[in-house]
């Protein structure tokens, strides 16, 4: 199967927020009513029940004019996903579509992924079971993996009426992104394609009108050294060490009892 990605061209976005509505609708997520934050933006940030938020960023241009920068923000589905690496239960994985999904049955709601994500795209949702007990699960955009499996497009891409969100063949979309970038460079000199290579790219690629930091995105996210130390070394070595200590103790027990046995049998003989 050819690789697919979601391409978000923020310069085509008109801020209608149909992506937000269609996401809530398809994924059956409850509405979250927030206070007025002082801008056109409806929600402050992505939450466990609001998987995508259209951000409205007011930027002054060099000529004194206003750039009203919109961005459909949601999980980027990193190729080297920090959330996946952080998960102690191995509940987070990549699908055949390149999307990163949470296995809700395995998730224990520890929140390690929430801390690890450099994009604040994954959060803990609190639920109440039938006995009234609270439990937590990590929740985030699935890139509508359930729709992809049926040959459909992600809900946000279907809803987007300006073609700012499209889903399709990776190579085709990446080359179209390059073309588009050349077109918009004149108006947006800082425009760039955001597909960070420090994490071997993302499955949601952006055409941004300004520097990533303007949109609150890290310039060059990397797999954290702490995660490598933790998951690739500390965890396996720690498990090995527990095994080694246990073996040493068992070895000592056997050797001690064997030696004692020899001693006592010798002792018996001398008493006879």
């Amino acid at each position: 199967m050819a690789e697919t990605i979601k391409l978000v061209d923020v310069t085509k976005c008109d801020g209608c927020r149909a992506c937000m509505v269609s996401c809530k609708n398809w994924n059956d997520l409850p509405s979250e009513i927030e206070d007025f934050h002082g801008s056109y933006q409806s929600h402050e940030k992505i939450t466990a029940n609001t998987w995508n938020v259209l951000t409205f960023n007011e930027q002054e241009r060099k000529d004194g004019g206003l750039d009203w920068l919109f961005r459909h923000s949601s999980c980027l589905h990193c190729t080297e996903a920090a959330c996946e690496k952080a998960c102690p239960e191995s509940a987070i994985s990549h699908t055949e579509f390149g999307s990163v999904v949470v296995d809700y049955d395995t998730c224990v709601g520890c929140g390690y992924c929430v801390q690890a994500c450099a994009f604040d795209a994954i959060n803990l949702a609190t639920y109440v079971d039938k006995n009234g007990k609270e439990f937590r699960k990590a929740q985030k955009c699935t890139q509508c993996t359930d729709r992809l499996e049926e040959g459909l497009q992600p809900a946000c891409a279907t809803a987007c009426h300006t073609g700012a969100i499209v889903y399709g063949d990776k190579d085709e979309l990446l080359s179209s992104a390059e073309e588009r970038l050349a077109q918009i460079k004149e108006r947006y000199p800082n425009a760039n394609i955001y597909n960070p290579q420090g994490i071997r790219g993302t499955n949601t690629v952006y055409i941004l009108a300004d520097k990533p930091t303007t949109y609150g995105l890290p310039e060059n996210p990397k797999v954290a050294l702490s995660q490598i130390v933790w998951k690739d070394y500390a965890q396996p070595i720690g498990k090995m060490m527990l095994g080694a200590t246990t073996m040493a103790v068992i070895g000592s027990f056997i050797a001690t009892s064997l030696n004692k046995k020899n001693d006592s049998s010798e002792g018996d003989q001398s008493h006879e």
């Binding site: 952080a86 224990v108 801390q115 007990k133 439990f135 702490s226 933790w230 965890q235 200590t245 246990t246």
Partner: protein, 224 residues
């Protein structure tokens, strides 16, 4: 062996020291058990025991608070025992270094000639240091993981491997410590439970301490 009951004993640990030890042991055990299902899938069946992951998290946090108490308990209720311990673990002499090769022989049941040891033998000193280091690692990283809102991304991300490494070391140390107290140096258990040990044990395992006790006693007799 020493089961006749009329053996002469000497005081080893005061009540404050013993309470401190057992609070530490109990807290460590509960922390270990409540975290085990998250550490390896093999122990996932422990989740229901705690009433699900949320229950395990609560238990882990209650035990975490208990885990921070032993040092204050020891300092407040047994300052003498604490300062003796502190002085002991900083003292490293020839007899301490000679301990290890002999100990390895003894550990595997061979004949060994261990030089006279202090109140804490060299192995116990190493155990103490490993325990101090791993406890600092576990408590500091644990607090960061508990209250991530007060720390920066980089610090939070380092807390996880440090907690993990601290656990691996601490568990290894604990297994060794428990095994030795149960199997190779059984009479020492009386010291940490009842507070006193037989004179014979003190002489055999902590010769230098025993000599100090004898010297103090003769001094007392002279003055009397």
């Amino acid at each position: 062996m020493n089961k006749s009951g009329n053996k002469k004993t000497v005081k080893r640990f005061n009540l404050g020291f013993r309470i401190s030890h057992w609070v530490n042991a109990a807290a460590f055990f509960v922390l270990y058990i409540s975290a085990l299902p998250m550490y390896t899938e093999f122990f996932d069946w422990l989740y229901p025991v705690f009433g699900g992951p949320a229950g395990a998290r609560l238990v882990h946090r209650i035990a975490a608070v208990a885990f921070m108490l032993p040092l204050p308990i020891m300092i407040i209720f047994d300052w003498k025992g604490f300062s003796n311990w502190a002085k002991n673990i900083f003292s490293w002499k020839k007899h301490d270094l000679q301990f290890f090769p002999q100990f390895m022989r003894e550990f595997f049941g061979m004949k060994a000639k261990v030089p006279k040891q202090d109140f804490f033998n060299a192995g116990e000193k190493v155990n103490s240091w490993l325990m101090i280091v791993t406890t600092i690692m576990l408590i500091s990283s644990g607090l960061i993981m508990w209250f991530p809102q007060y720390f920066s991304y980089g610090i939070i991300m380092w807390a996880y491997p440090i907690h993990n490494i601290g656990l691996g070391l601490a568990a290894a140390v604990a297994i060794g410590h428990i095994y030795m107290s149960l199997v190779t140096a059984k009479p020492s258990m009386r010291g940490i439970i009842k507070g006193d040990v037989s004179e014979e044990y003190a002489k055999d395992h902590h010769g230098r301490w025993y000599d100090e006790l004898q010297a103090a006693e003769t001094k007392k007799k002279k003055h009397a």
